[in-house]
């Protein structure tokens, strides 16, 4: 009788455990699993791809150095998102100090766009890129505390509980910040989105 081979995917916690025991291959798997989602998180935070990639590199280096510091009481994703978030916030502060960043007020009055359907032709795709840029600018204009919750909730689609653990604030505060961030984005971008009714 043939033995059934179970092809189960290891959890993050199993991978970091193996890495803590010296399995470098487990570290490589962690990198493959998280590199893109962390890059998107950092990118939505900073708005610059190169800087974001540096942040993600630094995140993995820290995971490598501090692997023994991780305890299996928290989810690994929470731990790694916290590292990236902290690095991104530090980078934002550094930028602000250097005054490299200037955000002008965003308001797109007297214009009405349809939400582009990404599955359409090249023109619509171009619209979609423009729309993404506009949304990114609106996200950039939020203060860091609103920015981080809205990225984690509406782009990364994490649960409120996990967000609360990542940024170490009470659950109620996360919910109220998400609400305020959504309303703020609505103020900034509402003119671009048609209300379904008239």
């Amino acid at each position: 009788m043939k033995k059934k081979v179970e092809n189960t995917i290891p959890t993050d916690e199993e991978l970091i455990g193996r890495f803590q025991d010296g399995d470098i291959y487990a570290f490589e798997q962690i990198v493959k699993r998280y590199k893109d989602q962390l890059l998107n998180y950092a990118y939505r935070f900073l708005g610059a791809i190169e800087d974001s990639e540096d942040i993600v590199q630094e995140t993995f280096l820290r995971v490598f150095r501090k692997r023994k510091a991780y305890r299996n009481i928290a989810k690994f994703s929470t731990w790694i998102y916290t590292i990236t978030g902290n690095l991104a916030k530090t980078e934002l502060r550094r930028r602000r100090k250097k005054k490299l960043f200037s955000i002008s007020g965003l308001k797109y009055n007297n214009k009405e766009y349809e939400i582009p359907d990404r599955k359409r032709g090249p023109d619509e795709r171009a619209d979609s890129v423009v729309m993404d840029e506009i949304i990114q600018k609106a996200i950039d204009s939020l203060s860091p505390k609103f920015k981080e919750v809205i990225i984690l909730r509406d782009i990364q689609e994490l649960s409120y509980e996990e967000i609360s653990k990542i940024i170490k604030i009470p659950l109620g505060t996360v919910k109220s910040r998400v609400n305020r961030a959504r309303l703020k984005l609505q103020e900034l971008l509402g003119d671009l989105f048609k209300s379904p009714e008239k």
Binding site: V178, N179, R182
Partner: protein, 192 residues
């Protein structure tokens, strides 16, 4: 419910986190307020659009770069250990290290001895006899309530402590800090 209050519940409303009662209350408001309805609809559209924002990918050489940085890290660690080992090996005479280690042991031994003698002194100071001397010289605590001392005082009631604190035989002051020496002096004084 006012428009401002309703706005506070928009996220919970969109995430389906409201109680039935509260949801009904908000629905009633939305049915009658086109302004709030429009805000809610736009908020919902933006929230949904955010999910489909384009996803960027790391550059092709991301993992190669990371691997290089990790190996640099490891090399740096190794070179630190090597430098440390080499610097020890480069010392002119290894006996200097042996001497240094021995000196550390001697220092630790001396420190431990000093601590031990302090402890013994403390113990001697706290014997009823010594306390009595300390009391007489005004340096000790009031120990009259101490049962042990009462017994001592009863047993030694015919003896009195030289109030001057001076050993008549030698003319020297009782050294209260050196317990044994003081006790000897005291015995001499009593025997006299």
């Amino acid at each position: 419910m006012s428009c401002k209050e309703v706005c506070n519940y928009f996220s919970a409303y969109l995430d389906g986190e409201l109680s039935e009662t509260l949801k009904k209350e908000i629905d009633v408001h939305l049915n009658n307020c086109s302004h709030c309805r429009a805000i809610l609809n736009k908020t919902y559209s933006i929230k949904e659009y955010m999910k489909s924002l384009f996803k960027i990918k790391t550059s092709d050489n991301f993992e190669v770069r990371l691997r290089e940085r990790v190996s640099q890290e490891l090399t740096r660690k190794r070179s630190f250990i090597n430098t440390w080992t080499e610097s020890i090996n480069c010392l002119p005479n290894k006996s200097i290290i042996a001497f240094g280690v021995a000196a550390i042991f001697v220092i630790i031994f001396i420190i431990m001895n000093v601590q031990q003698s302090n402890y013994e002194e403390f113990q001697i100071k706290n014997t009823p006899f010594q306390k009595e001397i300390l009391n007489q010289s005004g340096m000790g605590e009031n120990i009259t309530s101490d049962k042990a001392n009462e017994q001592f005082l009863k047993g030694e009631s015919i003896l009195s402590v030289n109030p001057s604190g001076v050993d008549d035989s030698t003319g020297k002051a009782f050294d209260l800090k050196k317990g044994e020496q003081s006790l000897d002096s005291k015995v001499k004084y009593i025997n006299k």
